[in-house]
Symmetry: C2
Subunit: 330 residues, 2 copies
């Protein structure tokens, strides 16, 4: 597991999270165990577990339970990725082939379900009903958002006037909340609840998570246009190919409402050469820069939300983590 350098102070506990993630629960399914292990090990930077560990550090907390919560959040994240990849038909993620590129759809659905179940069991291991409720509601938000994304896919938003623009932006914000920010918010809120933080601090930590997650996802959407395919581990413009309109595209469409190429890619996918052309056009317009500015605003707000919390290493690291999310290249 490779996290980012600034999270080095959490290394020992992140290692415990790692062990928790890989704990065999059904040792009699060697085939399944191997697949789940590979899924969990191909995992990313463990930002979500780090958020749990940090947000649970302002008050004395049972660290064992916090580690369970951190593992639960990462497990839930991994489960949603497995189903996501199946739905998108994605064959590569993080530079590795996805599960559905190797298994049949049925086994992939079930492996995702199994990870959901393990995530629920890890959340239950916190012994905290409010934490369990946050877990269940977040899963509902994530799935609801994914469903909406399926219904909205391949629809070109109409940006005729200010009201239409605002409504398209609202829909985008709701989508990235469901997709990413809700789980970040759940991670920090649940950790605060577990540490019995005063309610004002629970609210502040949830707010930090939500704002950080929002900025993080906008940055993801920016990287889908200006990132390096080698570093990203996936092709650029992949959302566009899937007919998903992200913030850089919204800004671009606002300036070029009659761009036929973008309309055709959103509606029909379009040929590789056309997608490349559109990616270049969006990248060279001011749209990507404008999206980055908006990500920076959310990140600044997330840092402002930390102000009410006790000073110290946890708060400093959370501040630095926010800066990192917009400085990263993948």
């Amino acid at each position: 597991m490779k996290t980012i350098p600034l999270l080095e102070p959490l290394a020992a506990e992140l290692e415990q999270v790692e062990r928790k993630l890989l704990e065999p629960t059904h040792p009699d399914y060697p085939q399944l165990t191997a697949v789940l292990e590979s899924l969990l090990l191909s995992g990313g930077k463990r930002l979500r577990p780090a958020l749990v560990l940090l947000a649970g550090s302002f008050y004395p907390t049972d660290r064992e339970k916090l580690v369970s919560l951190a593992a639960s959040v990462e497990m839930l994240h991994t489960a949603t990725l497995v189903h996501d990849d199946l739905i998108d038909g994605a064959l590569v993620r993080r530079g590795r082939t996805t599960l559905n590129a190797r298994w049949n759809a049925g086994a992939t659905v079930l492996a995702g379900d199994y990870l959901f179940a393990r995530a629920a069991a890890l959340a239950a291991a916190t012994g905290n009903v409010r934490v369990m409720t946050i877990f269940a509601e977040t899963l509902m938000t994530i799935c609801g958002g994914e469903l909406r994304q399926i219904f909205d896919r391949r629809e070109l938003p109409r940006l005729d006037d200010e009201q239409a623009w605002q409504s398209a932006l609202d829909r985008y914000d709701q989508r990235i909340y469901a997709k990413t920010a809700s789980l970040f918010a759940a991670a920090t809120e649940a950790a605060a609840v577990l540490s019995q933080a005063p309610e004002a601090h629970v609210v502040a930590l949830r707010e930090y998570g939500r704002l950080l997650g929002t900025g993080f996802q906008i940055m993801d959407d920016v990287l889908d246009f200006q990132g390096d395919e080698q570093v990203l581990g996936k092709p650029v413009g992949s959302d566009l190919r899937e007919g998903i309109v992200t913030l850089p595209v919204l800004y671009f469409l606002r300036e070029h409402p009659d761009d036929e190429r973008i309309a055709s890619v959103v509606r029909d996918g379009g040929q590789d050469a056309v997608v490349q052309e559109v990616v270049t056009a969006v990248r060279e317009s001011g749209a990507v820069a404008r999206a980055m500015d908006r990500a920076r605003e959310f990140i600044a707000q997330s840092q402002a939300a930390l102000a009410v919390l006790p000073e110290g290493q946890a708060r400093d690291l959370m501040h630095a983590l926010a800066d990192y999310t917009i400085a990263r290249d993948r």
Copy 2:
């Protein structure tokens, strides 16, 4: 909602479960709400919620929470059916077209996930950590079993000697535990826990659920051979077509180890005429009767498990419900 006559005393509370199941949680997705409603309304006999209501009737219990638990169990059951149908590629269940026959696979996966999430939220509404833990562990058991079924599919068990036979029977028992009995057991155990029953009664109620569920599933497997397609709402021999070897087939294979037709249907699916031939052969052999005898044994054991519980209407209904599971025709 149509339950069975003997559950009439529970009608008012089952109606509350029904309302809980259909509570809109995201009123802004009319498309999703309509689909989920149709899924939940196409539901069966509500045996699982009835088990929860009955098992929670031996001690004074918060009925509101018990209704949440009953709805949670039925929601979890519905979620697994949605994913099951996707995996099997089944187009008809309970005489209606399945979700995946109308939607694409992605939307079906997510609708199932969404139901899992709502089930988890309903379980959390009981406010009981042990209930949540039972919920999560049961989901793990169900998914683990489904995965094993995928790996075992289209494998003809070898029944050369007594040891091989015993091992094939054990594998069958494990599979039906995961598929059906585990959720029956969870329903009765969790209800007992919620009603703060003494531990010996929690154990007895769990045991009743497990044994009842085992008998119930064997009977389901029997009906797959001798049922009436019109009443069942699905074609007979459907497991066999899917390459799944159930108890009647095991008994048949024990007597006819060299039957080539059955081997070919299990391994390759086979033509409709051959499947019909095999179904008739199994039906006319003693295999179906032997499977029914085994179901009756489990049902008798489930009734015996009730002996330690306080006498009264709940116990009488549970006893009658056990008789019903083997007398039913669908």
